[in-house]
Amino acid sequence: MSTQTVIGEGHVERPPPLVRWYAEHRRAVFGTLVAILFLLFWEGLSRGWWADALRPLIGHAADPLLVPPIFISSPSRIAAEAWRMFVVTREIWSDLRFSAMEYALGLGAAIAVGMPLGLASGWYRRLSYAVGPFLAGFNATPQVALLPLIIIWVGFGLAAKILIIFALAVLPIAISAQSAVRTTDARLLKVAHSFGAGEWHLFRTIILPSAVPFLLAGLRLAVGRAMIGIVVGEIFGSAVGVGAMINRSGSRFETDKVFVGVLVIAAAGMLLAELVHQIERRVEAWRPSV
C-alpha cells in the first residue's frame, strides 16, 4: 500500500514523491520498462549473452539462444544503421520522399473516391444495390493479388504504386462511410424532416456529423492498410522508395537495413494513427467522456 490512513484523526498521509510520480506515470513507466527489457533481450540474443550465461548450466542446449545478426540484427546495429542512413549518407531521405508521395496520393485518392461513394451508397438504396456486389467482391479479393494486373495496365511507375495503395485503402473508407449513413439515428432524421430540412441540409446537419466517428475509424484502418501498399507496390521494378529499399536489402541479407525500413514504416503508421486520433478528439468534443 502506498497510502496510509491514520485512523481516528481522519488525516491522510501523502505518499512519498517517488511513489506519487510512479502512480501518475504508471502507464508510461510500464510501457518503457517492457520495451527496454525487450530490447535487452533482443540485443542479448544476437550477442549471445543468454547463450553464454546458460551454457555452463545446460550445455549445448543453450546454443539456440545465440541468433546471428544476419537473422535478427540487434537494437544497437539497427540504431547505428539508422544513424548512418539518416545522417551520414542521408541515403534514406530520397526513399522516404518517394514513398511519402505515393502514399499521400494513393490515400488521398482513396478518401476522395471512397468517402463520397460510401456516403452516397449508404443514402441511395439503388446506388447501394448497384455498388454493393462490387464492394463485397472487392472486399473478398486480396487486393495485393491485383498488383500484376495493375502493372500490366500502367507499368512499373509511380501510377502503379498509387493504384495499389488506393486499392488497399479505399475499401475500409467506403464501407465504413456506408454503414455510417445506414446507422443514422432515425429519430434525428425525423426531426430534420419535420423542420423541413432540404436534402443537402439534412446531409450536412444530421448524416455527416453522426457519420464522423465511423469515417475516422475507417480512415484509421485505411492508414494502416495503405502502409502495406508501400512495401508491396515497390516489390517490382522500383529503384527508390522505402519499400524498395526493404526488398533490396532483404535480398542482400542486409538485415539491419530491413529493420530500419520496417521501423520507419511502423513509426509513420503510428504517427498517422495518432494524428487521426487527435482529429477524433477535436471533432468529438461534444461526446460524453465516458
Binding site: K190, S194, G196, G198, P209
Partner: protein
C-alpha cells in the same frame, strides 16, 4: 371561428416486412380543431397518439383518409406546424442554442436573428446560462425543455406536442403549463397536445379527445367548458373532478379489455 385542422377518416397501417405483419395503428380517426383551440389527446399507451401526431405533421402518410390544415391537404411537414417530440431527439453534437435554432436554419433565417429568437425561448424554458451546453450535459427534463423551445421558436400556427412535460417534476411542469397557456393565448396558436396526465389535459384544454385502445379511434370528445384564464386551483374544484372521473372511466373500459395482455399485431397477410 374557422376550422384550422381537420383529420378525416384517418387509417394507418404499419407494415413490418420482417414478420410480414400489418398493424392497424389508427382506424377511422376523425377530428376537427378550430383556429386557436387547445385540444388534448389522451388514451392508453400504444393506442396511436404519436402516430396520429406524425400523420398530422406530414411525417407519415396515412393509409387512408386525409389531414387538412387551413383547408389544404397535408402531404409533408411545413412551417405552419411544429412538433415537440416525445423523446427529446436533440442533435447530440449541437449545443442547446444551436439545437434551438435548427428549425430556423432549415427555413434559411439569418444566423443573428435566429439566435436572438432562440435566446428568448431558451430563457422562457428556464435554460439561460445553458446555451452552450451539449445535450449530454443536461438532465432529461432539461433536454425536454430544449425540445420544447426548438418547436416554440418556429412560431408555428399549429403546435403538435407529444407528452412534452412527461419528464418534468410537478413544479416545473406546472410552471411550463402556465407558460404554454400564456403563449397560446397571446400568440393565438392552435395546439394539439398529447398527455397521459388527465388533469393536465383538462387544465390546459378546451376539449379532451379520448382515444380507444389499438387500433386508435376517437372514443369520445369531452368539452371542458371552464372559463379562462384558469387558476391552478380549478384542479381542486368538483366540476374538474367530475370531468376527470369521466375520462378515467372511458380509459378504464379499454384497459380492462386489455388486461389479459396487449393485443398482438394482426395476422400475417394471406
Amino acid at each position: 371561428m374557422a376550422v384550422k385542422l381537420e383529420a378525416r377518416d384517418i387509417r394507418l397501417e404499419y407494415y413490418q416486412p420482417r414478420t410480414d405483419t400489418r398493424l392497424v395503428a389508427l382506424d377511422g380517426v376523425n377530428l376537427t380543431v378550430m383556429d386557436g383551440e387547445f385540444v388534448s389527446i389522451v388514451g392508453p399507451s400504444g393506442c396511436g397518439k404519436t402516430t396520429f401526431l406524425s400523420v398530422v405533421d406530414g411525417l407519415i402518410a396515412a393509409t387512408n383518409g386525409r389531414v387538412m390544415v387551413n383547408g389544404r391537404v397535408v402531404s409533408r411537414p411545413g412551417p405552419d406546424r411544429a412538433v415537440v417530440f416525445q423523446d427529446a431527439s436533440l442533435l447530440p453534437w449541437r449545443t442547446v442554442e444551436r439545437n434551438v435554432v435548427y428549425g430556423l436554419e432549415c427555413l434559411g433565417i439569418a444566423d443573428a436573428e435566429a439566435k436572438a429568437r432562440a435566446r428568448k425561448f431558451i430563457d422562457m424554458v428556464g435554460l439561460s446560462g445553458f446555451e452552450h451546453h451539449y445535450p449530454h450535459e443536461l438532465s432529461g427534463g432539461m433536454q425536454q425543455r430544449v425540445n420544447l423551445a426548438r418547436a416554440l421558436v418556429m412560431d408555428p400556427e399549429v403546435l403538435l406536442m407529444d407528452e412534452p412535460f412527461a419528464a418534468l417534476d410537478a413544479q416545473t411542469r406546472e410552471g411550463m403549463q402556465e407558460e404554454l397557456l400564456r403563449i397560446w393565448l397571446q400568440a393565438k396558436k392552435t395546439v394539439l397536445f398529447i398527455t397521459h396526465q388527465i388533469d393536465e389535459a383538462i387544465y390546459l384544454s378546451d376539449r379532451v379527445v379520448v382515444f380507444s385502445g389499438r387500433p386508435g379511434r376517437v372514443k369520445e370528445i369531452i368539452e371542458v367548458g371552464m372559463e379562462r384564464p384558469r387558476r391552478l386551483t380549478v384542479k381542486r374544484e368538483a366540476r374538474f373532478h367530475a370531468i376527470e372521473d369521466r375520462i378515467w372511466g372511458l380509459i378504464e373500459e379499454d384497459l380492462k379489455s386489455r388486461i389479459a395482455g396487449d393485443r398482438p399485431p394482426d395476422t400475417p397477410r394471406d
